[in-house]
Amino acid sequence: MTKLQTTTGQVFGDTYADAVGALPGAQETWINGMRKTSRALVGAQGFPGRKVEAWKYTSLNQVEKVPFIPAAKADDVEVSSLPLGIPVIDGALKMVFVNGVYRGDLSDSFADLGDGVSLKPFADVLKSDPSALKVVLGSSAEACQSFTTALNTGFMEHGVVIHLAKNVVLERPIHLISIGASGAEPGAFHPRFSFSLEQSSSATVIESHSGLPGQAYLSNPITEILLREGAALLHYTIVGEDSDAFHLGRASVTVDKNAKYESFILSLGGQLVRREVKVSLEGLNASAIVDGVYALSDKQHSDITSEILHLAPNTTSNQVVKGVLGGESRGVFQGRVHVAREAQKTEGRQLHKALLLNRGPEVDCKPELEIYADDVQCAHGATTGEMDQNHIFYFLSRGIDEETARALLVEGFLDEVMFNIGDEAVRETIFGLVSNWLARQKIAAVSGS
C-alpha cells in the first residue's frame, strides 16, 4: 500500500500551524524565513519513510497516525511538581520545561550566575532580542539535513539560550528538565536549546526528557551547540520518556580549534525514541567523545544516529555505544564517521555492542566510515550477542543465583562505557537509573533456560 504524504500535511500542517498561532520573533524576517522553510520541508516531504536511507530502520508510522495538537496549548494538564523518574543532578541548577514551555515556578533562579554567564528562556530572547540568536540558530542544525530538525525549527518557541563569555568557567552544572504531559489530546512540543561557549569557556549541561503517563506525546527537542576555540562542554542527555511517548531529538554541535565536546546519551526509551547527534570538528585539534547506552524492554524502539565530521587536521573522536535489549524491543545504531580530505592526522574510533537478554529483540547496526584523507587512524567495531551461558554457569557454580548473575553481567557489560562519564554526580545518577532499570526487568525470568 502506498502511503500518501499528505497525511503529514494534516498532522503538522495548516491546522497544527494555526493552533500554534503567531510565534515570538515573527517580526524578524530571518526567523520567519527559517520557520517557513522548515514547515514547507515537513509539509512537502512528509514523514520520512523507510526508503529514506537515514530512516531505514526506524519507522514513524506509529507517530504519523497520532493527531497531535500543540502541547503548549493544552491547558487541561497541571504539573505542579517534578516526576520522580529522573532525579535532579546533585548540585545542578535546574530549568524545567513542561510540554516544552519554560516554567519559572519549578525552576531555580538563574539571575545571579556571575559575570559572563547568560541563561535565558528561548521565548524571551525571541521576543526581546532575537538578533542575539543570529549566530547560533541554524549554525549547525540545518533543517534540510534532518526531518527532526525541520519539525523543530518550523515550530520552535520555547527552550533556553545559554551564552558563556570568553574564559568563563561555569562550575555549577545546568540541568534542563523536559516533562511531557498530554491531557485529553496527544500533544507535541519542540523545545530549542541553544548553547554558545566563547573562547576557553566551559560548562556542564544535562538534559533529561521524561513525562507523565496518559495520552502519547511527542517530544521534539533540538540542542544546538557552538564551541569556540578552546571551549569545553560536558553534555549529558538522559531520555526516559513515558512508555507511550515518542521522542525525536537531536544535538548539532560545532567544535572549533582546540575545543572539546564530551557527551553521553542514556536512552531508556519511550515507545519510540530517536536521538540524533551531529558533531562537526571544524578546527585544528578539536575533539569529541560521543558515548551512549540504551536499555530497552517490551516493544520499545530506540535509535541512536550519529554523524561525526572530521573537517580539520589533528581532530579526534571516540564513540562507544552499548545496548541491552529485552522483551521484543528494537535497537538501532547508525554511526557515520566522515574524514575530509584536509583532516590529516585524524583519529576516529567507534564501537557499538549490543547484548540481547532473550530471543525477542532485534538490533540494526550501520557503521559508516568515509575517509578522504590518507594519514588517519580510524577503527570501528560492532557486535551483537546473547548472554554467554558459560559465564552464567560460572556464577551459579559459586552459589550466585541466576537473576543476580545476569544483572551483574549486564552491569559489567555497560560499566566499561559508563565509567567514562566525566562528571561524577551525573555518573552516579546514570548508574542508579541503569540499576533501577535492571531491577525492573526480572531478567532471569526471560532467560529461556
Partner: protein, 252 residues
C-alpha cells in the same frame, strides 16, 4: 554417612553415553584423585556434580550429605558446600573480582542464615587470603580472570575455594598450565584447606600434582568407568606405565 555417594552413575551428552556406571564414596577428610587419559569422562563427572546443563543422567544417583544432589540447581549445590575449581576459569569482563567474591560469599552466608559480611571484614579477609596464595592484592580490583595468566587464574580459583570453604571441593585439572612454582603455591593452598569436615576430588592427567597434594585414594577412569582403585602408589604406577593396559581391556 559419606559426604558424597555416587551410585551407578550413567551420563550421556547428546545421546552419547560418556559415564557408564560410576560408583564412588567420599568421606570427610579424604582426598580422592581421579586419573585417566583424555576423553574418558573426567571433566564430565566434575560438571555433572557441579550441575552444569547439557548432561543427561540416564541412570544412577548422587547423594550429597544424604540429599539428592542431582535434584538441586547448580547455585543451590554451591551454597550447600560444593565447589568446582575449573580447568579453564571463565574471563568475565566488567565484573570486578572483588564484587564477584563478595557476592558469592554473601550468597552462601545468607543461605546459612548469616548476615552479609561487613565491608571492612571482607577486605581484611581478602588481604589475608591473597597474601597466603601469593596473589597481588591489586588483582582483585581487576575484572574477574580478564588478562590473568594461566597460573593467576588457577590461584584465583583456589582463592575462591578458600573464601567459600566448601565441604566438597572438585579440582578439575588444576595443575594444567602451571609451572612448578605456581603448582607449589596452589598445592599449599589446597593442603591448608584439608580438614576432617572436607573432602576433595582431584581430577588430573598427571601424577605430578599428587606429589604435592597426597591423595588417600586414587581411581583410574577409563572409558566412562572406574577400572581400578588404590592408594597413592597407584598414581606412581600409572606415571611409570601409562594407561595402555586399561585401554586394551576397554577395547576388548
Amino acid at each position: 554417612m559419606p559426604l558424597i555417594e555416587i551410585k551407578n552413575l550413567h551420563v550421556s551428552v547428546q545421546g552419547k553415553e560418556i559415564l557408564k556406571g560410576i560408583d564412588l564414596n567420599m568421606n570427610g577428610g579424604e582426598v580422592h584423585a581421579i586419573m585417566g587419559p583424555n576423553g574418558t569422562g573426567k571433566s564430565t563427572l566434575s560438571y555433572v556434580l557441579a550441575g552444569r546443563e547439557g548432561y543427561e543422567i540416564t541412570e544412577g544417583s548422587v547423594l550429597f550429605d544424604g540429599v539428592d544432589l542431582l535434584k538441586m540447581e547448580a547455585d543451590e549445590r554451591a551454597r550447600a558446600g560444593l565447589f568446582l575449581a575449573f580447568q579453564y576459569p571463565m574471563e568475565i569482563p566488567g565484573v570486578a573480582t572483588a564484587t564477584f567474591l563478595k557476592t558469592a560469599l554473601n550468597a552462601k552466608r545468607r543461605a546459612q542464615g548469616q548476615d552479609e559480611i561487613d565491608a571492612m571484614e571482607f577486605l581484611n579477609l581478602i588481604k589475608a587470603k591473597t597474601a597466603e596464595l601469593e596473589i597481588p592484592y591489586e588483582m582483585i580490583k581487576r575484572p574477574l580472570n580478564v588478562g590473568f595468566s594461566g597460573g593467576e587464574k588457577k590461584r584465583a580459583e583456589v582463592l575462591q575455594m578458600s573464601l567459600l570453604e566448601p565441604r566438597v571441593a572438585i579440582l578439575d585439572e588444576t595443575d594444567s598450565g602451571l609451572d612448578i612454582d605456581a603448582l607449589k603455591v596452589v598445592s599449599r593452598g589446597v593442603n591448608s584447606l584439608r580438614s576432617e569436615a572436607r573432602a576433595f576430588l582431584i581430577i588430573t592427567h598427571y601424577q605430578r600434582l599428587l606429589t604435592y597434594i597426597v591423595p588417600d585414594f586414587v581411581h583410574v577412569l577409563v572409558g566412562g568407568r572406574i577400572v581400578e582403585s588404590g592408594d597413592k602408589s597407584l598414581a606412581e604406577l600409572l606415571e611409570a606405565e601409562g594407561y595402555a593396559r586399561f585401554e586394551e581391556n576397554e577395547a576388548a
